[in-house]
């Protein structure tokens, strides 16, 4: 079936198998592999994207559900060479190791800080507890979130 989605401000369309998840459609249909496929059952958050501005695990959304809707992915955050402040914070804090969880975390942190620019530590931990990271032990991710929150409060985005 032909699926048409507005992805990162651009209308795109491609054929998809009826059972295809939005994640597979983005990765294989639209060649946007930034959203990652670590568990494909909504446990790890690596595939986090916005569907009509709502944070979702794209592995749990059918591609067909996104038809004629707006999707924002990790690929839409940087403007050319200019990183999004959350991306900058991740690089500076050393919050990236293998990086497989990173796109999902960058999206989830951006979503959190867009809603709440001053989250306390427990709020952050709870908000991000659906994003698994196997490399970092999360400490430098917490550092990145603190730094990104400061940037958010300073009006960086």
């Amino acid at each position: 079936m032909l699926i048409r989605v507005r992805v990162n401000d651009e209308w795109r369309e491609a054929d998809a198998w009826e059972g295809s998840s939005l994640l597979s459609f983005l990765r294989d249909g639209l060649q946007l592999p930034g959203s990652k496929n670590a568990c494909e059952q909504g446990e790890c958050g690596s595939c986090s994207v916005w569907l009509d501005e709502e944070l979702v695990c794209s592995c749990l959304v059918l591609a067909a559900q996104a038809h004629e809707r707006e999707v924002r992915t990790v690929e839409g955050l940087a403007e050319g060479d200019r990183l999004h402040p959350v991306q900058e914070a991740f690089v500076e804090a050393g919050a990236v190791q293998c990086g497989f969880c990173t796109p999902g975390l960058v999206v989830a942190v951006t979503d959190l800080l867009e809603r709440d620019p001053s989250p306390d530590e427990l709020t952050v931990r709870e908000a991000l507890s659906g994003n698994l990271c196997r490399c970092t032990g999360y400490q430098k991710i917490m550092d990145a979130v603190r730094s990104a929150a400061e940037r958010r409060r300073a009006g960086a985005w």
């Binding site: 198998w17 568990c39 990183l83 190791q97 990086g99 497989f100 931990r125 709870e126 196997r134 999360y138």
Partner: protein, 796 residues
Amino acid sequence: MSTRLDQRTRDGVGESVRRVDGIPKVKGTFAYGSDLWHDQMLWGATVRSPHPHARIRAIHLAEAVASAGVHAVLTHEDVPGKKTYGLEFSDQPVLAWDRVLYAGQPVAVVAAETPELARRAAARVRVEYEELDPVLDMERALDPDAPRLHEWGNTLRHLQIEHGDPDAEAEIWVEGYYETAMQDQAALGPEAGLAIPGEDGGVDLIVTTQWLHVDRQQIAPVLNLPQDRVRITLAGVGGAFGSREDLHMQIHACMLAMHTGRPVKMSYGRDESFLAHVHRHPSRVWLRTGATRDGRLVAVRGRIVIDGGAFASSSPAVIGNATTFLAGPYDVPNAFLEGTAVYTNNPPCGAMRGFGAPQVCFAHEANMDRLARELHLDPVELRRRNALEPGSVLPTGQVVRGSAPVREVLERCRDLPMPPEPEPAPMRDPMTLPGGAGNVGHGEGLRRGVGFALGYKNIAYSEGFDDFHQARVSLFAGPDGPVAEIHTAGVECGQGFSTIVTQIAREELGVRDVVLHEADTGVDSAGSTSASRQTFMGGGAVQMASRAVAEEIFARAIARLGPEGQLGLADGEVLADGVPVVELSDLLDEPVVATRTFHHRPTTGLDERGQGDPHVMFAFGAQRAVVEVDQQLGLVRVVQLGSVLDVGRAINPQGVEGQSEGGSAQGLGLAVMEEIRMKDGRIANASFTDYLIPTMLDMPPVVTELVEDPEPDVPYGAKGIGEISTIVSTAAIVAAIRDATGRELNRAPVQPDDIVGLRQPAASRGWPPVPDVPGPRPVPEYHGADLGQSDLKPKG
């Protein structure tokens, strides 16, 4: 060496330089194995055995072949060359024939137009099995009446280490029995790769791995190709932790690509990933520790058995490590230590971060705590009195050389600031209570506990293995100044290898612009990115090659200008006695290229009495865990981990902290949550819904301090740092739970039932029988089994 830097180039050794791959990773443009794409590619899928032990009566392919979009359905009959492979011994069928030895073993592979069509076709391969009696328990494997899984029996390796008087008596003995579970590496990036048939009849493979050349060594004979026609390039690796050491989809994708003439991609889902990589060995340890009344260790007697599962993988090396470390990082004058790795019909186990050391650390540290209790001594003080130091003799007879700041590690860990006392439970946010997010408790019956563990780990491969690393460094003139390029087959799996080597080239060559060639088989082997070895080995190779480049630059400078004095390089200039004399770019009409191979000092195997000089060097680490336990619900919250690590020298302090923190998270997982559960020989929890790894709510702050006591005669004095925190954190956390609850807790992970007393401590059936083996080497070796990585030799 005439390179002495009077002036340093920024972002060199010792600085927390940003990762070279950080920007593509945050942007989502870094290409992992599962992101690979080729317009003409087919998708592969694997048919796996549902049975742990069965005879294959027949394989029916007709329905699968007729399935829509299918281009190939292959079985063992289609293997072009040798039909087996394996990391240490070639005992693992590429595709099963005759018998399957574990549930999940590959039997057939399929290539089709889309992933869905491939999976559908795979489901239509019909295999007739006759189920056989499986060996599912590691001690049963030692029973002479148990089914024999390989022609050489079920014992993969048994070794014993005799030190001093093995029958020595002591004033006081403590004895313990310990079990650890099968743990999964759970790297987030799945096993994946793309095989592209070459015009020369060879194949190009882009794949997630930890060691390109040992992959190639196993792949080429199976494909019946010379080594140089199997060209391997590293795909982005989404974590490894040992799980990428063994082959996964490599051979299958190459076979399908060569058979169909089309590129073939294979990318495992999470459930298949659990079946397709090796795990951390479940272990059973029997340990007696004897001491004087004033707290000096006199003797240790120990036995460890590990379950290697169906195939050898790296189990012989893992049991070698585990047995040599069984007495702990202590000066023990007398010891008798035995280790056995067995084959069973469980999934193969092999490398995982720590490689045999976490299992024995869990045991020797619990015994040290028992001993401290018996002696009414502070547990840290008992460890301090017996800690290894330079010159100590290990049970293998190996003398601890170089840096061994064990007492400093212990003392600094003891002295780390404690976390603040908790607020009274009614005042607290329920999220901060054990079981927080579940909102299950209200803080009744909370008790804090503190636990401590000391451990150590060998750096690089042991027992006579020469895991060399080759690097090629080129220096050439770029449009904006001199550029250094590093070419090695060293694998970046996330731990920071790529960044470290650019720092080293920058330091040595005084060049800001350092780029990395992709890791491929266009240079010689880099050895594995494992065993905490790549900073040391890859760093050493890049340092050597960089220094050779610098020598050539100096020769050119002298030929051109004849400068006098001590020559150095910094900020794109050649210096003489610290004064710039010529721009590097002016000397680079021709690029300078140097290729060097770095070897660590030679080690030896172990003799019949377990004596030798098996390990290159050691890194030590200590952790203090503070936990809070809900005694009614059996739930645990780890409040703080204090981690003091002996690193020699930190090349990138931020990266080292990252290893400390991430390694601790994996140790925490084994302490309180992670366990592959087996049911009738099948993995019962092959998903992230059922196999839980620590989340951000499970992980406490990790306070890391580094002890920098440079290791002599190694590049920059840097030891490896990849494994030590994982080794000690499981032991420290379980010790803290024991402290909080007073329970024995001799099994990791600790479950709520253990804490509330619904499950009894793991019970031993007594020290198991000693298998009859021809000698201390792996048993398949005595039977002439083909070797895997052991015969890799540097070229030229």
